[in-house]
Every structure is written in structure tokens, then in C-alpha cells.
Symmetry: C2
Subunit: 80 residues, 2 copies
């Protein structure tokens, strides 16, 4: 099974990368862009486990290694 994990800063947490992109775009005369948020996407393949265990392990891995639960939220999607 293949999973896609989307890790993004929680709403309200200042996104400095996003702000940098916004500034860069304004410098280059792209004025219509706003609310830019940058996150990470991690694709993982899990094998040798049934579906429920695999999903649970991916969730555990997110908490442990992939996301910082203090400032980030994550979302797990199964990829077909």
C-alpha cells in the first residue's frame, strides 16, 4: 500500500517560507498572490501488513518522525 502524508503548519502559525515566496513574487511583479503556505508531502510504501495495521503505523510514524505536532498538522491519504 502506498500512502501520501501532507504536513502543513497549523492555521495561525507564521509561515516564513510562504512570506518569503510572497515577497519574491511581489518583487517580480506578480501582485495577485496571497496567503501562500508551504508544507511537506511524504510518500511511503508499506508492505507485509494488513490495511488497518499499515494505516495505524503510518499515523504513528507521522507523530514520531514526520510532523511536529506542536506547530504542524498532518493528513494521511491512501494513494491508488
Amino acid at each position: 500500500m502506498r500512502y501520501q502524508v501532507l504536513v502543513q503548519l497549523k492555521t495561525g502559525v507564521l509561515d516564513v517560507q510562504g512570506k518569503a515566496i510572497e515577497t519574491g513574487l511581489k518583487d517580480k511583479k506578480f501582485d495577485g498572490f496571497k496567503n501562500i503556505r508551504v508544507g511537506r508531502v511524504i510518500e511511503l510504501e508499506v508492505e507485509g501488513l494488513d490495511k488497518a495495521t499499515a494505516k495505524a503505523q503510518v499515523d504513528e510514524v507521522c507523530k514520531l518522525l514526520l510532523a511536529n505536532p506542536v506547530i504542524e498538522q498532518y493528513e494521511i491519504k491512501e494513494v491508488v
Copy 2:
């Protein structure tokens, strides 16, 4: 309009972040994980432009600032 841009390393390009996660997981006894790929996701809001121009501008911005076309590929999705 809100767009989501997914930037990932092209197939065949070594993903060092992914490898680091794989090693980290093995150290922690998660043995079922493989082919881990790490990418970026950027959400942008575009205003004051019609749909076709907005999409074209997002594409231009990807080439200019968000992705490195030598080693990365990107995908633009409209978010509802």
C-alpha cells in the same frame, strides 16, 4: 482561486531526505516501509485574475520560483 502545487523530485533522482527517514524508521523497528519520497506542497491564493490567466501565472511562478526544473517535477491542482 486557490491552487495547490506539489513539487517532487523526478523519478531516478536520489532522495536523501527519504533515505534518512527510511533509516530512521528501520532504527525504530518499523521494517515495512520503503520507497519514501519527500516533496513540497505550496498553497497559493490568486485574486483579480480570470481562471485561465491565474493558472498560467501559477505555472510561470512554478518554473521561476517554486520548483527546480532540472531535478523536480510539479503538478498544479485547483483547490475548491
